[in-house]
Symmetry: C2
Subunit: 758 residues, 2 copies
């Protein structure tokens, strides 16, 4: 069936002399297609065994196991000295060796899938192997030295996040790391200039105000992207009083802040953002071309010549899809075929074949407008005029407004003193009103549509109310039994009550761009969390090795003299102990994380640096400065750049529609349905549809391709489809080598035009 068009040189190309059989050809193509579908840029071996291994490698159990071992490995720090929950050294060592073995196994598995050359070229793999070896060496060294009672530092623990970064499908984290690596040369020059400017200002301060106890070094944290000016507050007597005796001092200070904070930090942001955008675009372009390249290779394997052009036979196409997606329903498959083979000629041409990966990614839904369960159960009552009136009221806009007003009144009541009985009783009224609202909505709307997958706010609403109900009842029970309120439960109820206020936001149309964009970038922001976690982990381990036990926290009611100096006499009279920062210590992993988190958001890096320098060594300051530069200057700027980018894309797309070729075709064929239409849960959209009778509903039933709503797309998806829409359908793209070596500096057009450049 698929003889002619086959790529003859395939066997030689892969370097293994295996027999080409029909099944293998299909598997090979299937592997290419599924790879294009997942957008991974790993060229893999194409023997049937390798493909089976490849599927197994990507199986969810294997991935879950990897994540499990990674989390065990990372959480070992909780049990090792200095431990939150101490365990014997033997236990943690065995656990670590087990984890390392698992990582090694995973790596070996991966090596079996892809060609040797590619495996050894990939820095990720080298990185993992080196880390495994280093960790083992360190472990053995530490244990043997421990045996003869010499204590040394377990430095390899700081390398643990390496496995988190390099193993799983954490594109985003790796991209952020690449972004940092690529931005470094550019940022270095800004940083040098910035350091130079700091130096100049420090010199000036040293000479002009040196005798007035203002140390130039104290200016550093002022110049963070947090733009925090803690100078006048963190060091008493502070800077502003200095203005009392010298007007010029004020001028110096303001110039300093304008230059080093506003201007330099904007330049930092510009450099970081510029690089972020450049690399983001380059990667997306690379992925798009790679996908095209792989789809063409798969087509070349399966193509047969019919008339003047090459095509893929329908039977072949079916088998391919079956191999790629074994659990696809027959109706789904027929729908895809109808889209791929419009003319029903029994064959799929090249252009349609190239779109297969996208087509497989499109969600197919069964529109099956169900009646309301109550309607099925008791149609007379549900369809009675009273019931219809209730439904009409609930669907009406005013119903939403009334509840917005109720929520706002509720907000006022929350702010009032809850000791007044009237107010605490009113809370029961509000709660019952909310419960009634939800019940009414469930009565009116079809429950399964109301709690659809993307009905974020309905879920939110429901969960908040149920939780509040449970907590309030629990509290009432406890209160009636023991005459005391449980403070924890009261706090939870309060937070739930306040969260309820958020619902008002969704009623205002204009807030939706902002809120939707924020919700869309939420998941990606979490991967940034992962990134920050990696930095925190490494710094926490180092910090624990450096500062463990140097600072103690005593209960505030404990009045021993040591409590005032955080258990370390070196801190006597320092700002650190005076400000009661004793809880900011590195005595275990949890405390270290809290300290680092605070350092990120609050500007007392200086105070802590001074404090810890007192208890250890002046070099300790370096640790804090390095942390400040890595996390605050670089990561925070990338975070801001990421949010800016998301909003710029959201704004530039506000008025336009980006449709892929497939979506257009699906719409033309009338087999698509907009995601918004599926969401029956929205009350305002469907006023009166009930009255128009069941005919329309019947006509709508069937299998449809769901066209994702524009609202719920991430920046990546949007950029990717923009990029793909710019690759002409007949464009074969450059060769694989060229694609893999795309450089970000090619992105800028040689002749920038008015639209692009600003």
């Amino acid at each position: 069936v698929c003889g002619d068009g086959r790529s003859i040189g395939m066997g030689k190309k892969n370097g293994d002399g295996e027999e080409f059989n029909f099944k293998f050809d299909l598997l090979l193509a299937a592997a290419y297609v599924s790879d294009a579908q997942y957008n991974r840029n790993v060229p893999f071996k194409t023997s049937p065994r390798a493909i089976r291994l490849y599927y197994f490698y990507n199986h969810w159990t294997m991935q879950a196991a990897t994540y499990f071992f990674i989390s065990v490995h990372l959480s070992l720090a909780l049990f090792e000295k200095p431990a939150l929950f101490p365990l014997p050294l033997l236990a943690t060592s065995i656990a670590e060796v087990l984890c390392l073995t698992a990582f090694f196994g995973r790596l070996v598995h991966f090596a079996k899938i892809i060609p040797q050359m590619v495996f050894w070229k990939d820095t990720k793999n080298i990185c993992i192997m080196v880390t495994i070896v280093l960790t083992l060496v360190d472990l053995i060294l530490y244990r043997s030295l421990e045996a003869v009672n010499i204590h040394c530092i377990r430095w390899s623990r700081a390398l643990r996040p390496v496995f988190l970064i390099n193993f799983p499908e954490s594109h985003q984290i790796r991209r952020a790391f690449r972004s940092i690596r690529n931005t470094l040369p550019d940022i270095l020059y800004v940083f040098l200039l910035f350091t130079f400017s700091l130096l100049v200002f420090s010199l000036m301060a040293l000479k002009l105000f040196g005798d007035r106890r203002v140390h130039s070094w104290q200016f550093l944290p002022v110049s963070s992207p947090k733009f925090g000016h803690c100078l006048p507050c963190s060091n008493t007597p502070g800077v502003m009083p200095a203005y009392d005796f010298n007007w010029w001092y004020s001028l110096y200070f303001i110039t300093y802040i304008i230059i080093n904070t506003y201007i330099f930090m904007s330049v930092f942001l510009a450099v970081v953002y510029n690089n972020y955008r450049k690399h983001l675009k380059n990667e997306i372009r690379k992925l798009a071309y790679l996908k095209r390249h792989k789809m063409i290779e798969a087509f070349n394997i399966l193509k047969v010549k019919v008339g003047p052009e090459f095509v893929v036979e329908e039977a072949q196409w079916r088998r391919l899809v079956r191999t790629v997606a074994p659990d696809m329903s027959l109706r789904h498959l027929e729908l895809l075929l109808r889209i791929s083979d419009e003319g029903q000629t029994g064959r799929v041409d090249k252009m349609n074949f190239l779109r297969l990966a996208d087509l497989l990614n499109i969600q197919v839904v069964t529109i099956n407008i169900k009646r309301h369960p109550l309607e099925a159960w008791a149609p007379q009552i549900y369809k009675s005029s009273a019931s219809l009136l209730v439904q009409k009221v609930v669907r009406h806009r005013i119903f939403v407004w009334v509840f917005d007003v109720i929520i706002l009144i509720n907000a006022i009541f929350i702010a009032l003193d809850e000791k007044i009985p009237f107010i605490s009783h009113a809370e029961w009224l509000f709660l019952s009103l909310y419960v009634i609202e939800i019940l009414l909505k469930l009565y009116t709307y079809e429950p399964r549509a109301y709690f659809g997958r993307k009905q974020f706010w309905n879920w939110f609403d429901m969960l908040i109310i149920i939780a509040a109900l449970v907590a309030t009842v629990a509290n009432a029970t406890i209160q009636s039994a023991s005459k005391y309120n449980s403070q924890q439960i009261l706090d939870i109820i309060l937070i739930l009550r306040i969260l309820r206020l958020l619902r008002v936001i969704i009623s205002v149309q204009r807030f939706q761009v902002i809120v939707t964009t924020l919700i869309n970038i939420g998941p990606t922001m979490l991967t940034f969390g992962g990134h920050v976690f990696v930095a925190y982990y490494a710094f926490a381990i180092v910090g624990m090795e450096m500062f463990h036990g140097k600072v103690q926290f005593f209960d505030p009611n404990f009045t021993a003299p040591d409590a005032l100096v955080c258990g370390n006499p070196a801190l006597k009279g320092s700002a650190f102990s005076r400000g009661r920062y004793c809880k900011n210590n590195f005595n275990d992993l949890a405390s270290s994380f809290v300290v680092l988190m605070e350092l990120t958001v609050v500007n007392h890096v200086l105070l802590l640096a001074d404090g810890f320098a007192l208890v250890t060594h002046q070099a300790a300051k370096l640790y804090f400065i390095l942390f400040h530069i890595v996390v605050v200057v670089i990561i925070v700027n990338i975070f801001i750049a990421f949010i800016l980018e998301a909003f710029f894309v959201a704004y530039s797309l506000e008025k336009s529609e980006v449709e892929t070729a497939i979506e257009k075709k699906i719409q033309e064929l009338g087999v698509g349905i907009q995601e918004e239409e599926v969401q029956d849960g929205k009350p305002t959209d469907h006023v009166d549809t009930k009255d128009r009778g069941d005919n329309k509903r019947k006509a709508l039933e069937g299998l449809y391709c769901r066209i994702p709503s524009r609202k719920y797309r991430t920046v990546d998806t949007l950029l990717q489809r923009m990029c793909e829409s710019e690759i002409a359908p007949e464009d074969e793209g450059p060769s694989l080598d060229v694609i893999l070596n795309f450089s970000p500096s090619d992105i800028y057009p040689k002749n920038p035009n008015f639209e692009t450049s600003a």
Copy 2:
């Protein structure tokens, strides 16, 4: 000569029945051309008298007078109660009336130039008139009430900056104001959302930590774009100690900062930047089309039909250019004609005529490579081998490096203690080395080229050294006479010494993009200064009316009990008096400015708000919050957006060349010279040119069009030429009405592509 093509309906169009004569036609065209040249979008009357008035209106004396009256009017606040230099009320009133008369005169002058309808449509003019009337009313009211001893508020003083904004050619300030006005609706929604989020967090804080003396309102300034987290420092006992007794508090605080500081402030920045970019582009596009439109109108007035096409006769063209630029030299005119009339056909075609305005803007320089004065004066000595060797050494790269190293050594010496005699003597050595360097450079390079208009660093170098020399000698004189050092002079010398260090920067190539961009946006940053000045002035006047005399500053050595509470018993025990903020008062204009400046850069808005609320009324807090929102949130974000934009344009142009059509043509004709080539002052570029003999230099002499260096272009210029290069030469552009109503929302392409949208 120019009969046929004349616009017949001109008389009717202008509504005045004046005779059309040759001169008038020319004047009209000239007015159009000069208007296009200056890019002003005011349609004006076209009678000869109006055109004469128009020239007079734009004469530098009139502009200088306007600026003079504006500054007098603004500085009146220094002499009015509460005054820095008190003057009788009569004197200031007379001065104010005089200024208002001058403003009114200027307005009447303007009304004579442009058609009545246009005059009354322009908000600027209405605004000025209303302000004049209001100020007069207020003045009369105040004086008459003062006469019967009733004191009221002179509220109209806060309106004074209106004249600064609306009168002079302060495009940038007006654009920033327009930017704010246009951004307001968009920003309002983010602001509401932000306020809502603050409210939710405040409610939570109030309930959860209300009994622990942490007031939710104190969180506000934490959420400024300065990203300042003064919370743990400004209010003792602070927030961090609160963490001692509740771990959840820490979590709350970190969530608060991540959401309200990082995320919301990024969204603010995104909204502001997006609007800034949109409006900037729209205005530039509008200007470009307006220029095209006016040039076409001028062409239509002067055109004659020769053969199949309309052209402008050479004689007519000459007369036009003579009218527009009366003081142009004949050689300059011939050069422009050669560019406009390539084929020397005796007529200028439409395309070339349309470029006239740009052509007139191009600077023409006489390349007239002069010999070094010493060479002319004593050629034997200057050309001797020893002299040539000196010149060669000075021109060599190593010479620059040696002095960079000397500067760095100097930096180390500055940091050391100057009490050591060796070090203070070394400073004399460094100073003499720098003087020798400058003398050597002046010996080698032609002095007029060395101090060219754009040789910023040469000027900088020279001025710093001369000032340091003068100050050092003055100090030595004083010292030898009175045995005391003058501290002021020593401080100045020190600053000069440190500024000298900046020179090292220009030696490093990679710093140049950053430094050049910063220097280029310098002038525009100053107009932002003007903008901030306007806001400061208005707030200072209001602040003086509200808080005048409420807080007193006493000399720190003065130990009266009042000194500790800033002269106001209400402040007893407040953070305001404890922190010795007494000098932060609104007792005169200078103090008010300093306070507002500090509020902009330092994050103690809260502390001052609390303090001033104590001495006046709780409503005083509103003043500080409003200031914070206007200046810090909006203006600072626009400032950051502006810097970001400048850098994005600089980066996207790094690899490309944007040439206008004229520049291309000038290059083709070989009558242009790159600005870089003119700058003979650069040492490294011209190594060995001396040796190649005088022939090349001779060949270069003559009149050239100077093509501005890409390095020294502002964002506006760059965007403008990009936009112009996109208007096709034959594109007549839309009608005037359409142009004037261009909307920023048209800017976004309907189908954003991969390049533009992110």
